[in-house]
Subunit: 164 residues, 2 copies
């Protein structure tokens, strides 16, 4: 068995973010930032029923992230953390995930809000956000619990690439 | 630019599930089902600080799913739905995602609970579940809102592969 898997691009994400250093670190810091997902037309049929969902997961390739580091300094913190304990981009596989708000579906184009994704990012998958499956309560969030909401909000606004 | 991206396997997920037809459809239907994630040792340093998180996302390859269908009949429903409006496995890119409960980190091995993943599944990425980023309220969940909790719970227990 091969030790790699090849995923094809199934579309492109368009957003106002063209500079990694000025892109919000998470969708929750991106209220009112709109973009579009242009699914390649061959896949359009797979969008049926998606419009009923208020939020969707987008999975994509961090196409502007070249390096891999196992320890990173997250933007919301001053310590070196294991990359798997962060959302930072320099991970072994450059797989990005965002939960965005779905505004409309027109043909093969999705209009979305709360966009923390760079323009021209290759899309790999879309899944619906399902409250029943995806909400967890009584969550411990490790070092993130030591970052206050105000601090996160403030730093998130300063726009630094995916290093939360 | 290539229209594919290659992701390498960074570890293997071990679970009691060896038959797709008898595997729970979601982690929320898998309470008490334990498994392990064996990260390849080259990546072990990236696990630092992960143990502080009660829940983590696992991203993996649906390695037993061969076919692609744009319309699928989800297990929790009787209608044909667009594959992107479901979590079904026959998607264009066989990317799986589960939020599991993290019990312990010992070296490069994670002990996990609420496992809905087949044994020997290749691991692609780990990200922390962060309450601040990942919880959404006022969510509409499309056709899933028409499935009652009891129905979902009951059908989930009947163990059918990832077709929720």
């Amino acid at each position: 068995m091969s030790h790699e898997v090849a995923f094809r691009h199934i579309g492109v994400i368009h957003s106002p973010h063209t500079d990694p250093a000025r892109t919000p670190v998470q969708p929750v810091f991106s209220h009112g930032v709109r973009g579009t997902v242009e699914l390649f037309s061959a896949y359009a049929e797979g969008l049926r029923d998606l419009e009923g969902f208020s939020h969707i997961y987008l999975f994509y390739w961090f196409h502007r992230s070249a390096e891999t580091k196992l320890l990173v300094q997250p933007y919301l913190d001053n310590s070196l953390r294991g990359v798997f304990a962060t959302r930072a981009t320099p991970r072994p596989n450059k797989l990005g995930m965002s939960v965005v708000r779905l505004l409309s579906v027109k043909g093969a184009v999705l209009e979305i809000d709360e966009v923390d994704i760079l323009d021209q990012t290759p899309l790999l998958d879309i899944k619906p956000y399902v409250a029943r499956f995806d909400t967890r309560t009584h969550v411990r969030s490790g070092w993130q619990d030591q970052v206050s909401d105000e601090q996160a909000q403030q730093r998130g606004k300063n726009n630094y690439p995916g290093c939360t």
